[in-house]
């Protein structure tokens, strides 16, 4: 028997998580692991067969075939993740009626001028989308607060309908819902329009984060969500929860808020640690603090599930899908190479085109580098030097730290975050917030998955749902 290369990590329960470049994984207990390291085999024959089937060891006769299979898998994985399958984002306006604490760079005042998309650009944007990829198209309307320019959103929809054909696209509007009204609802009713909104906990926490002059962000959101659920159905609304310091203390508030609104699926993530304003500390809290919070949140969600309330936490689902589902690379923020440009093309209000939401934000803080791939009229995705460099430096397989990490096949890389915090795209993983967050999520979730069968069944449902 010959052992083949693999990485491993010790989980909380004491089990050892193994993975190889092909993306196979296995979980051994300490004594099995020791035997395996000692003699390339454990005393458990079924386990040995499994380890061999997953290419952690090979019999000598078939070594070349096993090695060929490993490299074939790696090639297949890289090709899959290199596929150009973008979500198209359009920013109709940077203006916003909110002045949220953590959003300094991606907004302008509601009354400001010069922050709106030229209506004449819409038809070119849509034809560019059509030229760039085959259907189906997912178009995400970002902001600012896009509902300030409902006229532009309607124009985008109409253009999409005529150029991309109905049935070939869907429009997701990312909004605080504060400006939602009945006319928008009835417009959306028979159209492929979906809403995505930030929900930062119940009234008190949400309003403390999401600052409206009228101080009623939560009440407005609640009313709008209720109307969407009544009029359009549960599949038309999704939430994102960004965890701020104040929310860290109140994981139940997130669950309660979702239950209160009648939404079962939540998507909870730490605040992005971009050091945009140099005066602010790079993050508000450590990932260790976040994980304490997340564990409480997770446990409560699982408890609800066991009591028959089928809540889903999507961050967990995404991390597990990366491990469990071969070829899953749909989530732009957790893949390698990074999803920059490959999974996102963003049309900014000023006609500039970016490879992600983060690059347009980087642009606002680092003015002297052009982070765009040109204007929509003079677009050059392939020849763009900066993106070539960013994407080629985002293969975590060869990153110091990642190359020995058990989660490398499932993890990703975030060149923009590393540029913003460390001034270069690869990042020192020992200091990287991206690394700390994902490593801890993988560790935590896989530990629960393997050490607790009832939880595993719930997590399986999340992955397949």
């Amino acid at each position: 028997m010959r052992m083949l290369p693999f990485n491993f990590d010790r989980l909380d329960s004491g089990s050892i998580f193994l993975s190889n470049v092909a993306g196979f994984h296995s979980c051994l207990d300490q004594s099995e692991f020791d035997e395996f390291i000692e003699s390339s085999a454990t005393s458990n024959r079924t386990l040995n067969d499994l380890l061999q089937s997953k290419l952690f060891v090979s019999d000598n006769d078939n070594l070349d075939a096993t090695q060929a299979a490993l490299s074939s898998a790696l090639a297949k994985k890289l090709l899959g993740e290199l596929e150009f399958r973008p979500i198209f984002m359009i920013v109709p306006t940077l203006r916003c009626d909110h002045a949220c604490n953590y959003c300094q760079v991606s907004r302008a005042n509601a009354k400001a001028s010069g922050y709106d998309l030229d209506p004449n650009a819409i038809s070119i944007i849509v034809s560019t989308i059509k030229r760039l990829s085959p259907p189906p198209y997912k178009i995400e309307i970002q902001g600012g607060e896009p509902l300030l320019r409902m006229d532009l959103i309607k124009a985008i929809y109409d253009q999409a309908e005529s150029q991309l054909q109905p049935g070939n696209f869907e429009l997701v509007i990312t909004t605080s819902l504060s400006l939602m009204d009945e006319s928008i609802l009835s417009w959306a009713r028979n159209r492929a329009v979906y809403f995505s909104t930030s929900l930062d906990g119940q009234q008190e926490v949400h309003n403390a984060n999401r600052i409206l002059p009228s101080q009623d962000s939560y009440e407005r959101l609640k009313h709008s969500v209720k109307r969407i659920l009544e009029e359009l159905g549960a599949n038309r609304i999704a939430t994102v929860t960004t965890v701020t310091r104040s929310l860290l203390e109140a994981p139940e508030s997130i669950i309660e808020a979702h239950l209160e609104l009648g939404i079962n699926e939540m998507f909870v993530r730490p605040i992005s640690p971009y050091g945009f304003a140099n005066t602010k500390p790079s993050t508000e809290y450590s990932i260790a603090e976040y994980m304490t919070f997340y564990e409480k949140l997770f446990n409560t969600i699982i408890k609800h599930n066991q009591e028959g309330i089928p809540l889903v936490e999507s961050s967990a689902a995404i991390h597990l899908k990366r491990v469990l589902i071969p070829g899953y690379s749909q989530y732009a923020d957790l893949k390698s190479p990074s999803g920059l440009l490959l999974n996102c093309v963003l049309f900014n209000y000023d006609s500039k085109v970016y490879g992600s939401d983060e690059t347009r934000m980087l642009q606002r803080v680092i003015g002297d580098i052009d982070f765009s791939c040109g204007e929509v009229n003079s677009l050059s995705l392939v020849k763009n030097d900066l993106y070539q460099k960013l994407i080629s430096s985002s293969f975590n397989l060869v990153h110091p730290g990642c190359e020995t990490c058990a989660y490398q096949p499932y993890c990703g890389s975030d060149p923009c975050q590393h540029i913003s915090l460390m001034g270069e795209p690869v990042g020192d993983k020992s200091l990287s917030v991206f690394c700390h967050y994902h490593k801890n999520m993988f560790r935590f979730l896989l530990d629960r998955y393997y050490s607790h069968p009832p939880t595993r069944n719930i997590l399986k449902d999340w992955c397949h749902g």
């Binding site: 092909a22 993306g23 196979f24 079924t46 067969d49 499994l50 061999q52 089937s53 997953k54 290419l55 090979s58 019999d59 006769d61 078939n62 070349d64 075939a65 096993t66 060929a68 299979a69 490993l70 074939s72 898998a73 090639a75 297949k76 994985k77 469990l324 589902i325 071969p326 070829g327 992955c463 397949h464």
Partner: protein, 377 residues
């Protein structure tokens, strides 16, 4: 005699013998000769003189045969005076055997390999396919068709040229694809016509696969072959036959295919067929699906997870639980397919794969009662 769904072998009346060979069977007098095969006219039993036509080489008077064929079917006449319909317009599957030679010795081979030279089969298969002119799929089986190497490439060229609308499904053990040069020659031809290769993989434990296929080194070749073929863009139907020796490997085979192989267009899990060599070691091989349901389910789940289409072949519906029915397909070629008497009352019959005619007697696992369906309650 068991009633098969479609009869395919007929004893020819002795009065006017037909020379052995492949023929295009006609029910009406053709007005031109066929480029590829001689034509024989099939009439009913009532005597009528041989039509005066240059285009036919003989007449067979048999109502039984006439009632079972369509104009343009292909038949093979053997020296012992039987006619077997090999390509039938009424059949649900048409398969042509191109060789009986093989470099594997699978414990359950339904067509146990012979050593003798049988190149003529390949030539005749090409002619038969060309004469048949189908726009459907024709199965190519063996033996191991790819042992022909260069000659097989010529055969494909011939079919592509002379029967351009015919698609091919080729059963192979995939070993020949370990030769990258040969695999790329096949891949080129896959661009010109629709060709799929059905290739079995019985385990990711090399020794287990080798034991089941009775050939040392087969696993290496098949794995390298599958990798090459997939990477070159040859569409592959991956076949798994669960037996007592490998039923635990179903889901690892599926995970392996989804991670390491490309161009797998379908995973087929096939219930063992009690023909050929499988009969000899039936009791060491066959396992009732009910005893490995979890393995079956995990395999199906793994395929679904990886977005690989997955099908169960040859599983009578009453042998698997209802949640697996959506994956079961009617697969058994109709000339070897039958439904025992117990099935006549079964409401699932129209959707059920039924049984192999060869599964009579000691190989038979009787239909089971499906509470909610059989009596329509």
């Amino acid at each position: 005699m068991v009633e098969t769904i479609r009869k395919d072998v007929f004893q020819l009346p002795p009065e006017n013998p037909i020379a052995a060979g492949h023929y295009l069977l006609r029910t009406t007098v053709p007005d031109s000769s066929n480029h590829y095969l001689n034509q024989i006219l099939i009439k009913d039993d009532v005597y009528s003189p041989k039509p005066n036509s240059q285009c036919i080489t003989g007449v067979v008077r048999s109502s039984g045969l006439l009632g079972n064929i369509s104009d343009g079917d292909i038949g093979v006449v053997n020296a012992n005076g039987t006619l077997r319909v090999i390509l039938s317009r009424n059949a649900n599957h048409n398969t042509v055997l191109v060789t009986e030679r093989c470099n594997n010795r699978c414990l359950f081979c339904s067509q146990p390999p012979k050593e003798r030279d049988d190149d003529h089969l390949l030539v005749q298969a090409g002619l038969a396919i060309a004469a048949f002119q189908s726009d459907d799929i024709i199965g190519i089986s063996g033996g191991e068709p790819l042992l022909y190497r260069e000659k097989f490439l010529r055969f494909l060229d011939f079919v592509i040229l002379h029967a351009p609308s015919t698609s091919l499904h080729i059963l192979s053990n995939g070993r020949a694809f370990s030769d990258t040069g040969f695999a790329s020659e096949i891949a080129k031809r896959c661009q010109d016509t629709s060709i799929t290769f059905g290739i079995p993989l019985y385990s990711i434990l090399g020794s287990n696969h080798d034991r089941l296929v009775g050939a040392h080194g087969a696993y290496r070749d098949t794995i390298n072959g599958l990798i090459n073929a997939g990477n070159l863009g040859i569409p592959i139907e991956l076949r798994i036959i669960p037996t007592q020796q490998n039923y635990k490997d179903i889901s690892t085979i599926v995970e392996f295919s989804s991670r390491c192989l490309s161009n797998i267009v379908q995973v087929s899990i096939m219930n063992l067929e009690p023909t050929g060599w499988a009969k000899n070691s039936w009791h060491n091989l066959y396992l009732s699906p009910s005893s490995y349901l979890d393995d079956l389910r995990n395999g199906i789940e793994a395929a679904i997870e990886a977005s690989l289409p997955v099908c169960l072949f040859n599983f009578p519906l009453c042998h698997i639980p209802e949640d697996l029915w959506p994956y079961a397909v009617q697969s058994i070629s109709d000339w070897k397919n039958y439904y025992p008497n117990e099935c006549s009352q079964c409401q699932l019959k129209s959707k059920c794969p039924g049984y192999f005619t060869s599964s009579r007697g000691k190989f038979h696992h009787p239909p089971r009662r499906i509470e909610q369906c059989v009596n329509g309650t």
